[in-house]
Amino acid sequence: MTHLLLLAPVVVPALGAVIYALAGWRRATAWVSAASAALVLATAIATSAAVVNDDPHTVLAGLLRVDALSAFMLVVIGAIAFLATAATPDHLRTEIIAGRASSRTAARHCLLVQLFLAAMALAVLAANLGMLWVAVEATTIVTAFLVGQRRTRPAVEAAWKYVVICSAGIALALLGTFLLNYASQHTAPGAGLNWAELAASAHTLDPGVTRIAVVLLIVGFGTKAGLAPLHAWLPDAHSQAPAPVSALMSGVLLSVAFYAILRVKVIADAALGTGFARTLLVVIALASLALSASLLLAQRDYKRMLAYSSIEHMGLLALGAAVGGRLAIAAVLLHILGHGLAKSVLFLGSGHILQITGTSRIDQVRGLAARQPVLAGCFGLGVLALIGLPPFSLFASELGIARAGFTAGLGWAMAAALVLVLVIAAALVTHTSRMVLGAAPDGPGAATASPRMNVIAGAALVVGLLACAAIGVTTGPLHPLLSLAADLLAGTP
């Protein structure tokens, strides 16, 4: 049973990919991806229940392992994948009608998305650092063609930058992995790169080697998580990828990479004391926040705007991870989920806006609320969720991170971060309000009444926001999982 439960999140999407490879894109297969995502979500929930009631499980000769943290990440993947894949058929259909895609591209899109899901599930289920690295690099490879799907100049350019920068960054992580392996072989032979054993024996690791390894790992996985300094692929890739893929990348992929950093930090803290990784992460986090703030101020493209906002939120996560401790880690995990939901809603929404208006420039979208009230409402509320307003869960998680930071003596960093977040909020609100508010513009574009939004696509937006708000009100059943995962990372039983 456990075997099945653990393998399902990887195997189900892989099977989905096989179906698309064989059957292609047709009416019957349109909903396969959503169904597979739903299955992933279901198994994730079942796994969580199992993990909460029981100890961590290991399968496949110790290659896969699930503990509270992996289970939580699986839930995140499942939930956001479900949202994104539910909106996919409508998106692809519209693209096909508009002549921007063919049924072949659609089939390939679905296939790659399924592989993407499998790779992400594998990443969080991996029992050791090496497997994790393989899975994370696999996500890059799989998504490269999704980013470049449209084959336009910007799309190809984005795909190139994405692959080159991410591969370079992730290569650093590989070097770090090897070095960590080296250190662990010398102090605790046999531990290898296994998370559980590494964490248990981390205090014996050689600090000299571990320091280098940790720096490389954090910078390397930070690349994939969209953290400075190797963040630059993110706005390009997220703005060029099709909306559901952007949603998945921004909502989950970044967090999956960040998950690796969380794991590494546990080892770094045990081996080097809390100061080392904390300093590094604080610097990276503030750099990411500053960068995001700087580039959001004069932003002209709403998809890039959302992408930079993702950098911001990854910066906040890094800050939370730097703080450490139960509260901060729980907040970080909650933030991962909340940000994933809100950001995927926003990217899906931006996809609709792009399809309706044909432009991704902020100054060419006007009076959205007058034309598409539901879409505009979701987009506006989503942005408000991003800037951390209740009832959305990002409020609670940002507050948690901030509180933990002040309590941990990182007051100055926290205050600087909050000021940057304020600047970012101002920029986001300003840009969004220009798009959403105001009377419907008169002009050639406005005369053609925009089509009503597809019910399911609209429902995905609303459900995403509602979920984000719901976990902001109460985490309910997620609570034990969250606290268990936080205990796991914070090092307290």
Binding site: K161, R211, I212, L399, A402, R403, G411, S433
Partner: protein, 672 residues
């Protein structure tokens, strides 16, 4: 059974239910249930607050809500007072809203958010932990933002106002957040009792940081200088009943925050805190009323007047803190009572004024005083309502603000025992500021009422204005009743004010007491607004009788206005609001620095013959020029410079990483 619990619980339940109801009911059937629901929310809030003020203590914790923090509420006398004020305003506004929202404001979103906004405002003073407080505070910001934006499709200025509001409210929030979290970092947990306990052995530096930061946040919410810029934008652009809620209820919570953090959580503080508060208050009072005096937009005028009144309240709060830090509990009590009483009074008359302004807007579609006038004929009830509110706002007897400003001056006048060098300088200035504010307020509201409602209509919209529907009048009526009651028998709220201020300051007995006559306890001072009014009435009646008796019993005769023999007078010959304010503006030329624009068009035949002269004048907010524009310019420059960070060059992007990695490695080598 705990009535506070029942009241708050019922308010939450009814509020959420009304919001849901608004979402599912069809447009035609929506307004009445939502209105009734909002009235009930307000009523339950009043109930809970009143019971709390009467002395019933209440606290509850709900750990399941708000992840990572849990929610806890506690209502004491101070909270209770603000609950009553908010609830009371909400009742009048909700009744009014039923009629007002009929035209364009009956959308699902706006109607669903209205009860939630009221609810959020009720929960803010009830919050008893930092997490709860902040979540309620932000919910209030979010809901009010949605309401401010309600009419964004009608006017472009709404979006601008919304942006200002959203950004500045977030700025305030960040300041409060940092301030409170610094405090939390020094305490066991984030509940208010824990903070109180921690504050006793807090280092002065930390306490200063906490106070100053929270002060920044709370003053921005209260529309106090220099973070006031959103207020005269957002309050006018919001639908009028929302303006009333914001101006009469929401801004008060800024005052509540200062009192809660400064007095309660931090337990008072050094003298300079309160001097700062007092000075900010005095500056805001004068600046606010000056801007109001220059304004010819009716709702902007009212918004600026909110800044003024909150300034006056802060003068009271600051004086209270000053006296408390000097150990003079009696005077501190008087000052705080004055401040709290003014909060209540301001809520009453500002509600009435905004609702009346909304009624005018509803009937004429304009809030430009220069285009109004003569409304007394078509809208008698609204005219009476606004007149009553204007009387109250100009601090003349028998108006409400008169009583609280009297109390405020009483506190200041007795400030001598607490005198130090700083006090001796600040007190006279504060007195002068309050006095100047009173004088300018008179001029401002004479302008608003006289130009807007009396005289002859200046536009056809004003000429054809008809009275608003009954529900709107009923809402105004409720506010008017509150105004009259507070003006004549302020003693009805004295116990509440007394228990709130004694609780906040930890003093033994209330500073002000009395039924007919307000009597200060411990220092000399008495005033009876009721007797004053009765005296006025008696004299008037006697006078009418006497005039009848001695004067000729000839009937009044109607006649033409004197038109200098030049034919009938047209509205264009009337004084407008702008021209009315012109002499005052000349007086304060150096402060307000108006911008003038004169275009002279000449006849084609000769440049000596003038065809037309166009004159435009604007009174900009000078503070904005000096303070906000440089910051905005700086941020814009930052944004455009920063774009060079993302030029699109993949080499550059990779370079960022390469140099960072090399740098980090070198660092690792160097600091082993």
């Amino acid at each position: 059974m705990n009535l506070v619990h029942a009241g708050l619980g019922a308010a939450v339940a009814v509020g959420v239910l009304s919001a849901l109801l608004a979402l599912i009911t069809p447009r035609r059937l929506r307004l009445v249930p939502v209105g009734v629901g909002t009235v009930l929310v307000g009523a339950f809030g009043v109930l809970a607050g009143a019971v709390a003020v009467a002395g019933q203590a209440y606290s509850v914790e709900i750990p399941a809500l708000l992840p990572l923090f849990g929610v806890s509420f506690a209502v004491d006398a101070l909270s209770g007072l603000f609950l009553v004020v908010t609830g009371g305003v909400a009742i009048a506004v909700a009744v009014y809203g039923i009629g007002y929202a009929r035209h364009g404001l009956d959308g699902r979103g706006v109607q669903a958010v209205l009860p939630l906004f009221v609810l959020a405002m009720l929960l803010v003073p009830a919050a008893a932990s930092v997490g709860t407080f902040l979540v309620c505070w932000e919910l209030m910001a979010l809901t009010s933002l949605v309401l401010v934006l309600a009419e964004h499709q009608q006017r472009d200025t709404v979006a601008v106002a919304g942006r200002w509001y959203a950004v500045m409210t977030h700025l305030g929030m960040v300041a409060i957040l940092i301030g409170l979290l610094v405090l939390v970092a020094h305490s066991a947990d984030d509940s208010f009792p824990a903070l109180r306990a921690a504050a006793t052995n807090l280092s002065p530096v930390v306490a200063n940081v906490v106070f100053v930061l929270t002060l920044v946040g709370f003053t921005s919410k209260a529309g106090i200088l220099p973070l006031h810029a959103w207020l005269p934008r957002a309050h006018p652009e919001a639908p009028s009943h929302v303006s009333a809620l914001m101006s009469a209820a929401m801004v008060n919570l800024g005052i509540y925050g200062i009192a809660r953090v400064g007095f309660d959580l931090l337990g008072g503080g050094p003298r300079w805190w309160w001097l700062l508060v007092l000075v900010l208050g005095a500056l805001s009072a004068v600046y606010g009323i000056l801007q109001a005096a220059m304004s010819s937009d009716l709702k902007r005028l009212l918004g600026n007047s909110t800044t003024e009144n909150m300034g006056l309240v802060l003068v009271g709060v600051g004086a209270a803190g000053l006296f408390a830090s000097a150990g003079d509990d009696v005077l501190a009590g008087v000052a705080l009572s004055a401040a709290l009483l003014h909060v209540i009074n301001h809520a009453a008359f500002k509600t009435l004024l905004f609702l009346s302004a909304g009624s005018v807007l509803h009937a004429t579609g304009s809030r430009d005083l220069d285009a109004l006038g003569g409304l007394r004929a078509g809208m008698p009830v609204t005219t009476w309502g606004f007149g009553l509110g204007a009387l109250a706002a100009s601090a003349l007897p028998p108006g409400t603000a008169f009583v609280s400003e009297w109390l405020l001056l009483q506190a200041l006048i007795h400030g001598l025992p607490a005198s130090g060098a700083a006090t001796a300088i600040v007190m006279p200035v504060a007195v002068a500021a309050v006095a100047l504010t009173a004088g300018l307020a008179v001029a401002t509201f004479v302008k608003a009422f006289g130009v807007g409602f009396l005289a002859r209509p200046r536009s056809s919209a004003a000429a054809n204005a008809t009275e608003s529907p009954v529900s709107m009048l009923a809402g105004m009526g409720l506010a008017a009743v509150a105004c009259v009651t507070l003006a004549l028998v302020p003693s009805v709220v004295l116990p509440a004010v007394g228990s709130a201020s004694t609780m906040t300051l930890g003093t033994a007995q209330p500073a002000v007491s009395g039924q007919v006559t307000l009597q200060l306890n411990g220092v000399a001072g008495a005033l009876s607004p009721l007797l004053l009014t009765v005296a006025l009435l008696v004299v008037s009646v006697v006078l009418v009788g006497a005039v009848r008796l001695i004067a000729a019993r000839r009937a009044r005769r109607t006649a033409r206005l004197w038109d200098c023999g030049a034919g009938p007078l047209s509205p264009r010959m009337e004084y407008t609001a702008t021209s009315f304010a012109e002499p005052l503006q000349r007086v304060f030329d150096d402060v307000v620095q108006p911008e003038q624009d004169i275009d002279v068009t000449h006849h084609q035949e000769s440049s000596y013959l003038v065809q037309a002269v166009e004159y435009r004048q604007r009174v900009p907010d000078r503070l904005e020029r000096r303070l906000y524009e440089p910051v905005l310019r700086l941020i814009t420059a930052w944004g455009s410079v920063a774009r060079r960070l993302a030029t699109g060059s993949v080499h550059r992007y990779l370079g960022y990483g390469f140099y960072t990695v090399c740098g980090l490695l070198i660092l690792l080598v160097v600091i082993r």
